[in-house]
């Protein structure tokens, strides 16, 4: 179990790094799919079976297919490097590094030896999630359906020919 986490954490970080460094969007999309699938394995290790399956089906399945479809539809090729925004280059990297170091130090100080599972057992099965979703969170769930309806309408209107 322990070794599995470190293997998949390494795969996730390497794939994410590859995604950010690639200049061709299709390669980035494929790396992102690797990231999503290995994160699903990490979710499984955390006992969140339903979320792991959802991650693979919705994220790696539906959303990334949409991405790859649009990349191929628009024929997105090599990214042209530009030198117009120097502020991102000179200010962005130090700020990102500072943020990373600060967050890692905070995590180390706040949770020095907290084990990942302080509770004895956590049921991440679809039944348990469903009970919670349709009892405590039924209003957000219904609002979500309206959100998806609006998103579908918006996507159709925006992608229409004469917009």
């Amino acid at each position: 179990m322990t070794i599995l986490f470190y293997i998949f954490a390494a795969v996730t970080i390497l794939a994410a790094l590859n995604m950010v460094l690639q200049r061709t969007p299709v390669y980035s999309a494929l790396s992102l799919i690797v990231v999503l699938c290995s994160l699903a394995v990490v979710y499984l290790l955390l006992g969140a079976e339903f979320m792991a399956v959802l991650q693979v089906i919705i994220y790696a399945g539906a959303i990334m297919v949409l991405f790859v479809f649009v990349i191929m539809l628009l024929n997105a090729g090599h990214e042209v490097p530009s030198h117009r925004s120097r502020i991102a280059k000179w200010l962005g990297a130090p700020l990102m590094g500072a943020f990373l170091v600060e967050m890692l130090v905070t995590i180390r100080d706040q949770f020095p030896t907290t084990p990942a599972a302080t509770a004895a057992h956590l049921d991440g099965s679809p039944a348990a999630i469903g009970h919670l979703l349709f009892r405590s969170y039924v209003l957000p769930f219904e609002v979500t359906s309206i959100l998806i309806l609006v998103a579908v309408l918006g996507a159709v209107v925006l992608a229409k020919k004469d917009f």
């Binding site: 179990m1 322990t2 470190y6 970080i13 994410a16 995604m19 950010v20 969007p25 980035s28 999309a29 992102l32 990231v35 994160l39 990490v42 290790l45 955390l46 006992g47 969140a48 959802l54 919705i58 994220y59 539906a62 959303i63 949409l66 991405f67 628009l74 997105a76 990214e79 042209v80 490097p81 530009s82 117009r84 991102a88 280059k89 962005g92 990102m96 943020f99 990373l100 967050m103 890692l104 995590i107 180390r108 020095p112 990942a116 599972a117 509770a119 956590l122 991440g124 999630i129 919670l132 405590s136 979500t144 959100l147 998103a151 918006g154 996507a155 159709v156 925006l158 992608a159 917009f163």
Partner: protein
């Protein structure tokens, strides 16, 4: 047993990679994928805390984040298609003016 801090560290590293890509990339589709990477980093933190606290509410939040990400991807990619039709470009530096 893997400590909680390692899960959170992985989450932070993924988030910073996504944010760095958001700043340094110029292709609008890649930038969009970096946003998805940041959302996933937050999801990982939610699930790790959910496991640590023995509380399922974190996983419900992940559920909602995934739903919002799906809606966002549908609308965002439609915007990108409309943009590409009008500007013939996917470089964000070609779309920095508000009027055509």
């Amino acid at each position: 047993m893997v400590p909680l801090s390692h899960y959170l560290a992985l989450s932070v590293i993924l988030f910073v990679l996504g944010a760095a890509g958001f700043i340094f990339r110029r292709n609008i589709i890649t930038i969009f994928m970096c946003i998805e990477l940041m959302l996933n980093a937050v999801n990982l933190a939610f699930i790790a805390f959910s496991r640590s606290l023995g509380n399922l509410d974190g996983q419900i939040f992940v559920f909602f984040v995934i739903v919002v990400a799906a809606a966002e991807a549908a609308v965002g990619l439609a915007v990108i298609i409309a943009l590409h039709r009008n500007r013939e470009s996917l470089n964000i530096e070609d779309v920095d003016s508000m009027k055509m």
